[in-house]
């Protein structure tokens, strides 16, 4: 009875490399994420200056989303693409930086521009703004990527008609250790990944 859903495309970002649908599309020499992300942004000519205001978690999610969503979205059309992302470290990378700005009373400088990124779902907001996605979005936290829950939840959104496509994935960033795995899922038939699941693609 329930309609089958298919992985349409996927993207992995880790170890200074971006892999799109199994093919390496960008790679740098070992470097910090700040530098890697800037080079990737330039390489793909993204032209979105707001990128430079984002924290690392948002940049990571943004880069992956950019490669998967740009080919399938248009700012003139309604795009019912839900965002369902998860990670382990929430926004702790920015939380720690923010905490440092208030810990020392002699050097107390809480900044609203940093504080706003102390929520993991801000990266969903960034992607929504970029691709004009007035759609379902939720951010989950798990000890490890719970691919079963994430794919089940994505399917619920597709089956219940709450979304036409789901951008689902894992965006983990803490202390310059990072891994993003994002994929688009919809009911549109796609034979490319029939033997693959989020789990097998994530672990590739």
């Amino acid at each position: 009875m329930t309609q089958k859903t298919y992985i349409q495309s996927y993207c992995t970002i880790q170890n200074n490399e971006i892999v799109l649908n199994g093919t390496s599309v960008f790679k740098t020499e070992p470097t910090e994420f700040a530098d890697f992300s800037k080079q990737a942004y330039r390489n793909f000519e993204m032209q979105y200056p707001k990128f430079f205001k984002m924290d690392a978690l948002s940049k990571l999610a943004f880069l992956g989303a950019e490669l998967l969503l740009s080919p399938i979205t248009s700012t003139e059309l309604e795009n019912n693409i839900a965002l369902v992302l998860a990670n382990k470290s929430s926004s702790l990378d920015t939380d720690v930086k923010y905490q440092e700005s208030i810990s020392d009373k002699e050097n107390y400088y809480p900044s609203p521009a940093v504080f706003v990124y102390t929520l993991p779902n801000i990266c969903l907001g960034e992607i929504s703004i970029r691709h004009q996605l007035k759609s379902e979005n939720s951010f989950f936290i798990f000890d490890v990527f719970n691919t079963e829950f994430m794919s089940n939840y994505s399917n619920i959104l597709l089956h219940s008609g709450k979304a036409e496509t789901v951008l689902c994935g894992w965006v983990e960033f803490f202390n310059d250790n990072y891994k993003a795995f994002l994929c688009t899922i919809s009911a549109q038939e796609n034979e490319k990944y029939t033997n693959e699941t989020i789990n097998t693609l994530y672990n590739k």
Binding site: L83, K88, S89, S90, L92, D95, V96, Y98, Q99, I102, S103, K105, Y108, P110, S111, P112, F115, V116, T118, L119, P120, N121, I122, L124, G125, E126, S128, I129, H131, Q132, L133, K134, S135, E136, N137, S138, F139, F140, I141, F142, D143, N146, F149, N152, Y153, N155, I156, L157, H159, S160, K162
Partner: protein, 379 residues
């Protein structure tokens, strides 16, 4: 046929009381949990907030456990869940989900530099600590979606039960007043210099608060308190730290939730809105409600009683709204004086007996998120 979903148990831990009844009694007496605090470990200057006394938490917790390893927030969460898990008499097996929603969890643990303390700042660790207290068998599902977290968790519970992944879901929502959050809202100049005044002309911002709330969401109608009949959670796609001027995300969330509920908006008897008392949020809500033709439906914000309890607020306010519906009483929107939003909305000025069959709960938050859930009284 889609499964019908109910909330069958509720509880909350707040400055107004440690069970639902004492909270309702306090609201009926017009008491607010918001007080002036002078505590330089939290804020350099005096501030208004709704804070739970340490002693009360410890005394209540001592009655259910002698364990000393739990953080303050973990104790508040365990205290909210304990009576409803006991009353529910459900085996916590592979078909029982545990959903924890929070914005900042144990963020106070970051004040301490130790590795061990840093570990407890992780939300999955917080969830595991609370889940293990009760012996949940399933992996905890943590929802951290800014200030819609608590009500979004209800919507996620409904969806995963309707899809038959689970039979029941225990949902806990909680957040604390911390130096971290106080300094952040203060840096945004979003803090009120008096107890917050949602929708009022002279509102100047939020009062922060802390609470935990817990519910059991189930497809079993026995002991049902309310039916969950429609839900939606749509992003504004407009700004990360401010709401859309047109209330687009909230507008669409409510529209979708009503559509799924298959009721016309005019059938709503009550709206439990977000009402943080910041100039932009309240204005945005009034615009969204007005665009939907809901400007005459009685509406309140419970922030005047509890302050803004962040990720807990959506669930706490749902727990209170369920009592409102079952007791057929509209609670006053505390702190309200003179309408201060551009679109006229029907803010509840005093407690009033009215038959309530359908109500709507909404919330909005940073990142442009919005959630709307429609509830129906159980016949």
């Amino acid at each position: 046929m889609t499964k019908e979903i109910y909330i069958t148990q509720t509880n909350c831990i707040t400055p107004l009381g440690f069970d639902v009844q004492s909270n309702i009694d306090a609201i009926l007496r017009g008491e607010s949990g918001i007080q002036l605090h002078e505590n330089t470990s939290l804020m350099p200057a005096p501030f208004y907030a709704a804070i739970i006394s340490e002693e009360k938490i410890d005394n209540a917790f001592a009655k259910i456990s002698t364990a000393t390893k739990y953080s303050r927030l973990e104790k508040m969460m365990i205290l909210a869940l304990e009576p409803i898990i006991k009353k529910a008499e459900i085996d916590l097996d592979s078909k029982v989900a545990f959903i924890l929603s929070t914005t900042k969890g144990n963020v106070t643990a970051l004040q301490n530099d130790s590795e061990e303390s840093f570990k407890t700042a992780h939300l999955d660790v917080l969830a595991k600590n609370v889940a293990d207290f009760f012996g949940f068998k399933t992996q905890p599902i943590v929802v951290s979606n800014a200030c819609v977290s608590g009500i979004l968790a209800v919507s996620i519970a409904k969806r995963i039960i309707q899809s038959e992944l689970y039979d029941h879901a225990f949902v806990i929502a909680g957040d604390e007043v911390s130096e971290f959050v106080l300094s952040g809202f203060n840096a945004f100049q979003a803090m009120s210099d008096s107890p917050c005044k949602p929708y009022s002309k002279n509102r100047t911002g939020v009062s922060l608060g802390e609470a935990t709330a817990a519910v059991l969401v189930s497809a079993n109608p026995a002991t049902a308190k309310i039916k969950v009949i429609g839900d939606s959670s749509i992003n504004d796609a407009n700004h990360i730290s401010g709401p859309s001027r047109t209330g687009e995300g909230l507008f669409r969330s409510i529209q979708n939730a009503l559509k799924e509920a298959q009721i016309d908006g005019q059938k709503l008897d009550y709206i439990s809105a977000h009402g943080t008392a910041t100039p932009f949020n309240d204005e945005m809500e009034a615009i969204a409600l007005s665009r939907l033709g809901l400007q005459n439906i009685p509406v309140n914000s419970l922030k005047g009683f509890y302050g803004h309890t962040l990720g807990a607020s959506g669930l706490l306010e749902t727990v209170i709204a369920i009592e409102s519906a079952n007791k057929n009483i509209l609670f006053e929107s505390k702190g309200f004086d003179e309408i201060g939003v551009s679109e006229s909305i029907n803010v509840i000025q005093k407690n009033e007996e009215v038959f309530i069959e359908y109500f709507l709960k909404t919330a909005s938050g940073f990142g442009g998120c919005n959630t709307a859930v429609v509830f129906e009284k159980v016949k």
